[in-house]
Amino acid sequence: MSVGYKAVQWTHSKKVYDVVIVAGVLLYLATFIIVGKIAWRGDRAISDEILLIRALGTCAIVMLHIVLAIGPLARFFPRLSPLLYNRRHLGVATFLVAAAHGTIVLGYYHGFGRLNPFVSLLTHDADFGVASSLPFQLFGAMALVILFIMAATSHDFWLRNLSARTWKSIHMMVYACYVLVIAHVMFGALQAERSSLYPALLAAGVIGVTALHVAAGLRERRIDKQPWAAIDQDKKGAWIDLGDCRDIPNSRARTVCVDGRPRIAVFRNGDDLCAVQSVCAHQGGPLAEGKIIDGCITCPWHGWQYRPEDGRSPPPFEERISTHRIRSRDGRLELNALPEPPGTAVPPARLPEEMT
């Protein structure tokens, strides 16, 4: 255990996750190469380098689809959270496979000539006004640069030093990367290949990823569109009636939405209630979907922890999140929508007897 930075803090689940990634990549590459060699053999055999380029390129695209699908899938099926937990490892592996694809392309298609391969890549004759002549390799190169930036900054060292907001913004570039990859395929391989299977598969992938994101977005929007109304206002801010809190399972939370503010997580800890912002300081994970473990609110994404009474991580950690006041009045529980400064201790509210 350490509070310092390590390249990878290996756990059993991380090791299993990485073994599965490597096995999956090898399964894909082996299947592609074996089937490719059976389909076209003898005089009609495809060059080994081209077979490898295609195997690696399509593998990276499939991996990118999986990376993008895991997030929304884990929202709908929380038991898939083990796939989400180490998604960064899958992202780095996607970059490595894509980089292998790009490296062989650079040497094979842009090497052995009168130009430096990089110069050839950046300057080969293309016409941006004609779809059939768009420089699809540049789209692929730009996507690879984004994957590199994300892989290089994937460690928590960068998350800490760049701030969670900046880090998240950088890693949201995965969507720009995805668009570039689709353009890379559409204006490259799809213009060269004749089988209608390829556009059909690509369309299925794009529709699948888009549908999952739209469905997850609509689900979140539905929650946000039902803000809790304020019943009282004083100098401490608006107070919200929490209603009957018996349905909050012990150690779990209820999400409270207030117009224009980050969501609030109201946790039940035995007969006590406490409220914190529902946004983890690590990667913005939904704390309201977390659980109190060993007395600490535990984020469902990566297990970061906060004490319910003051929103502070247990020593030696130093993260802090905002807390919210809860008061008991006339047999009702009321939550103050105004966040206290991160790490502010607030007394827990006890469930009224009629709610226990």
């Binding site: 999956g24 894909y28 190469i33 060059s47 898939l80 083990p82 000539g113 080969h124 600490c296």
Partner: protein
């Protein structure tokens, strides 16, 4: 200070006791609950089947790379007359004595015109590796200094290999693709189409003679060496169109067994 993904001792031990059926909660640094493990295993199996399925289907559906061959492991030696017209060609006799035209290129993505210009019209022995597709032959001239040896043939023997007068076949408008023939004939398989465009531009820009290929309904292909008016190289003109499906007009003529297309540079149209 940032939280490690495994917190220090006091916080991570009792979670197992906290987990009940129906309230499982996964934390990466704690033992995985049974329900999560089962769901993850099912997901991994489904993903594995999908991976193998997609890989197999995508690999199976690849386009026909053609029948080109490159005897890169065997040195060939050809004797004949070098013709620079405007690219380096070798007029030689095949095994049955029929005169054939072999396109000459250098190693890598370079033509052989500059290297052989001094041998224009002369008899030589050239060593290199042979590429061939659909009866069209190409020799990659070895980079060794002694790869090209001048020969002192009798006039009568040499005369049989000298270029014949071009035989005009008339004006034509053709649909097909400008290619770099070295890759297309066998150096890369497949060596054409959009994904090969940048490589073809390096090849033709490096002096490999541009060719035009047309495809019939039955899959057969015809090759044309591409030149411009005045028997000039068409490399600069066709480079932007390499790998694209195009329509082009021009005069077609036979130079021995070699079909030549003298393009009208104003007629090239992407289709």
């Amino acid at each position: 200070m940032s939280q490690p993904e495994e917190p220090t001792g006091p916080v991570n031990n009792a979670a197992g006791a906290d987990r009940t059926v129906g309230d499982e909660f996964f934390v990466g640094y704690l033992p995985t609950p049974a329900g999560h493990r089962r769901a993850a295993v099912i997901a991994v199996v489904i993903i594995g089947v999908l991976l193998a399925g997609v890989a197999g289907v995508v690999a199976w559906a690849q386009r026909d790379p053609g029948t080109g061959t490159w005897q890169s492991d065997r040195t060939s030696s050809l004797e004949g007359v070098v013709v620079i017209a405007p690219y380096a060609l070798l007029r030689t006799a095949d095994e049955s004595g029929v005169v054939v035209t072999v396109i000459l290129v250098s190693e890598g993505k370079f033509g052989a015109t500059d290297r052989l210009r001094d041998h224009d019209g002369k008899t030589v022995r050239i060593r290199g590796t042979m590429l061939e597709r659909d009866g069209r032959r190409m020799l990659e001239v070895s980079s060794n200094a002694d790869a090209v040896t001048p020969l002192d043939w009798p006039v009568a023997r040499r005369a049989g290999l000298l270029p014949e007068s071009p035989r005009p076949l008339g004006r034509a408008t053709l649909r097909g693709e400008f290619i770099d023939p070295k890759c297309y004939i066998g150096a890369m398989k497949p060596g054409g189409g959009k994904t090969h465009k940048a490589c073809a531009q390096l090849c033709v820009g490096g002096g490999i003679p541009p060719m035009f290929v047309t495809r019939s309904q039955d899959g057969s292909e015809d090759y044309f060496l591409v030149i411009e008016e005045g028997d000039r190289s068409a490399a600069v003109t066709v480079i932007p169109y390499l790998g694209d499906p195009v329509e082009v007009g021009g005069e077609v003529e036979m130079r021995g067994d070699l079909r030549v297309l003298r393009i009208d540079t104003t007629t090239i149209l992407r289709i």
